[in-house]
């Protein structure tokens, strides 16, 4: 259910964080799963509360915002050709993000298991490396299935 709208983008060249966030937020809005206010929510939140994470094998980011902007739970994925700078949540450390998972979530209780598995995926070096090289939606969904996120 989290990927059924196919907001899954590969090999994207993004000049900076804002461009990357805008691209994903626009794609989610086009898919009808978030409200027009989602993008602004994502951008302002990222400035205030960064969402980069230094996973063991690479930097990632999990931008998200308040539930009120979300229509239907969904995750947008963006694979970057060149890493984009984020700051780490919690300590503001520099993160060169190679993968972005944009979370459009609205029910914490239902989504706990999915989020835990997503964090588990970030710690799986093998699957994470695959995520940087794949180029088809089918391969992406296969990896997500292996990570039990769908």
């Amino acid at each position: 259910m989290y990927f059924d709208k196919d907001v899954i983008l590969f090999d994207q060249s993004m000049t900076d964080q804002t461009t990357a966030l805008t691209t994903l937020a626009d794609a989610l809005q086009k898919a009808g799963v978030v409200k027009p206010s989602f993008k602004e929510g994502i951008l302002s939140r990222e400035k205030q509360f960064p969402t980069g994470l230094l996973a063991p094998s690479m930097g990632v980011a999990i931008p998200h915002t308040d539930a009120v902007h979300v229509i239907k739970p969904q995750i947008g994925f963006l694979q970057l050709r060149e890493p984009v700078h984020f700051n780490q949540m919690g300590d503001n450390a520099d993160v060169s993000a190679k993968l972005i998972f944009m979370l459009a979530l609205n029910d914490p209780d239902l989504q706990l298991a999915m989020l835990q598995r997503l964090m588990g995926l970030f710690q799986n070096d093998d699957l994470m490396k695959k995520l940087t090289t794949i180029s088809t939606t089918a391969d992406f969904k296969d990896i997500m299935k292996q990570a039990e996120i769908d």
């Binding site: 960064p50 063991p56 919690g90 710690q123």
Partner: protein
């Protein structure tokens, strides 16, 4: 009963993961009867930090409350998680 507040930027995503991890850990250690878990967003709690016995955050907190808040990001990345649990144990005086 001690209170442990977990905050993130939105109160929806990462605080949920961290709350789940801490609950499991409390149960494993046999502390679950001693702690009441709460979850919120940082902007709602920044003036109420002292209302709780301990606060864990996955997001940046203002400098004036920084020393009172435990950084919960290691529970997301899985790196050096024990340090977080040690700080919770100490703050809540769990035994």
């Amino acid at each position: 009963m001690k209170t442990l507040m977990v905050v993130c930027g939105s109160g929806v995503a990462t605080s949920t993961v961290v709350t789940g991890k801490i609950k499991n850990w409390l149960a494993d250690e046999g502390f679950d009867g001693q702690v009441k878990m709460l979850q919120s967003k940082i902007s709602d709690e920044v003036n109420h930090i002292d209302d709780y016995d301990a606060v864990v955050s996955t997001t940046l907190v203002p400098d004036n409350v920084k020393d009172k808040v435990i950084n919960g990001v290691p529970l997301l990345t899985g790196m050096n998680t024990q340090a977080v649990y040690d700080q919770i144990t100490e703050k809540l005086e769990l035994k």
